[in-house]
Amino acid sequence: MNYFADLALRLALLLNLALALNIPFRWGGRLILSQGIFVAMGAYVVAISIVRWDLHPALAVLLAGLIAVPSGWLLARIAAPLSAATFALLTFLLALAGMEILENWDSLTGGRSGIGGLHNLFLPGLNASPKMSVALVLLLLGLLFFLLARFLFQTQFGRAVRASRDDATGAELDGISVIRVERDVFILFAVHSALAGALWAFALPRVIPEYFDFAVLSLPIVLACILGGGEQPRHALLGALLVLALDEGAQRLPTTPEVRADVPLLVVGIAYVVVTLINGDSGVLSTANRFKARLRRYM
């Protein structure tokens, strides 16, 4: 039972984070490698406000979402003049620097030992374990953002984001403010990531920096978006499921105990190379469609 609760929690988190990254990355063409820091922001805000300030959990989660708004705005300001690859690299540096802050700013974050003592989350009327309860709430959050993304995809905003990615000059000539569109996209990304982190914190024994490490959290999410391939929110969900399957498979590989911890990350690394080599960043669905088209030609 504990295994299924763990699996549900990981799936719910992955789905949320892949959905959050899908909008700036696949719609807007802006790769962000520091998502873990936004998740950490949410988790730490919740931990600090509940444990140190004795705030109500619902208010703490709300506060985490609110604090993410200026950080998303700031990220958009930084991204505005930069090319996509340079911005991606900068976010990588941001991820590393963010981890350093989490580990070294003892008075705020509790350093490497982090912050503990969060209450368990129980859903009223449901006989679910605390982890399963968090997973269910995260799935609900994911569903809300999924519906929002599906709605936004067809609206003028969704088209403006994609137009800004494909041809920023053309989009501006058409009256779209690329800067404003990017700002909104980054704020949406930051808020969703922080809310997911805030809820996830309730399932953690302690909120420690290790959970938000670049390689552990951000890299698999980017992989999910690459594997999913397309712009639609369902592609992000497919990518998240594939990454989870990949991770589960990697953990079941027959290895010695000494190297067991390295294998999942090694598999992620290989997947990055293989997927980009085979198909650029067009994803699994696109490869499957191409394969189907070729098959039809021969049949």
Binding site: A80, A84, D262, G280
Partner: protein, 314 residues
């Protein structure tokens, strides 16, 4: 003051070696190529160096093994990955993602082969003997690192100023035109990757000989200052070149200036990290690097969009 300057030189030497190797591959693409896999092949070379030392090959021979490994891996990355990407004309992000993947693969494979991290290198204590010079206490291996870095820098600077640098610049501007008018760009790029891998491996081994410990994220720790130095040097180089009157402008001086700035920026960055680490107790290296990068990207011209959107100040 002089003591701080002198004690920053070993770090500056490592930053310089990493920046030279990163900068070469970076300069092979017009928009820049973020060859993060360089950190991975460096750590692989260090892994092999460790095995060679343990097998009793001796330090000079083991360094040779590591350098050859780095060069071969660099070449393999170019032929197996980047050449395919160049042919397909993929985006800079795809290069970055694949390079990241390789960085992780190399890092994990090395971690698996070396066992538990952090790993202490079994090197005899003679090389860490302290030599007192003008109030600073640097070890023998640190002085050797500085000398090697200077030699490599001088050789590479002459290469950049000469015909090789001109060719590399031409490929950067247009590989297609280079193939048409000069020769095969693929051969030049293969050579660049080979040299870059060898220098990265050399820098990595010297760094690990100084510290005698291989940490979990050594590959990332090695490559991050490299791209900060390269971005800063390119930005400052661009600004300085823009101040030169057009009739005095020379491509040769321009190339020389940029590679010279690698040395200056590596040194400044090393001093900055040294000073901040002394003032603030814990390690804030990446925060400093982020601050420098933000500053450079804000005021420089490198890494910018081709056309800035309305509302963004140039």
């Amino acid at each position: 003051m002089i003591k701080t300057l002198l004690e920053s030189t070993p770090d500056a030497a490592i930053f310089l070696l990493a920046a030279i190797s990163f900068g070469m591959v970076w300069a092979s693409r017009r928009e820049g190529l973020f060859h993060l896999a360089l950190g991975g092949l460096m750590i692989c070379s260090v892994g092999l160096f460790n095995h060679a030392v343990n097998a009793g090959l001796g330090i000079p021979f083991s360094i040779g093994v590591a350098v050859i490994t780095g060069a071969m891996l660099g070449l393999a990355v170019e032929l197996g990955l980047y050449r395919v990407f160049r042919r397909r004309n993929v985006s800079g992000e795809s290069f970055l993602l694949a390079s990241f993947g390789l960085l992780i693969v190399f890092e994990r494979v090395t971690s698996m082969s070396l066992g538990t991290m952090p790993l202490s290198l079994e090197i005899h204590r003679g090389i860490v003997e302290r030599i007192n010079f003008m109030g600073s206490e640097l070890t023998a291996i640190q002085w050797k690192t500085v000398s090697v870095a200077l030699v490599v820098f001088i050789v590479i600077a002459f290469m950049y100023i000469g015909e090789w640098g001109q060719k590399l610049n031409a490929v950067r501007q247009s590989g297609f035109l280079y193939d048409w008018r000069v020769g095969r760009s693929s051969v030049l790029l293969a050579g660049v990757s080979l040299i870059s891998g060898a220098i990265a491996a050399l820098g990595g081994v010297l760094y690990h000989l100084q510290h005698r410990i291989v940490i979990e994220r050594a590959a990332m720790a090695y490559i991050v200052p490299a791209f900060v130095v390269v971005l800063s040097a390119e930005s400052v180089g661009g600004l300085v070149a823009s101040l030169v009157p057009p009739h005095r402008h020379s491509a040769k001086i321009d190339r020389g200036l940029r590679v010279g700035l690698y040395l200056l920026m590596a040194f400044l960055l090393a001093i900055l990290t040294q000073v901040v680490t002394r003032v603030l107790e814990p390690e804030w290296k990446n925060v400093i690097l982020l601050g420098v990068t933000l500053l450079v990207l804000r005021f420089g011209t490198v890494g910018r969009r081709e056309r800035l959107p309305a509302g963004v100040t140039p």
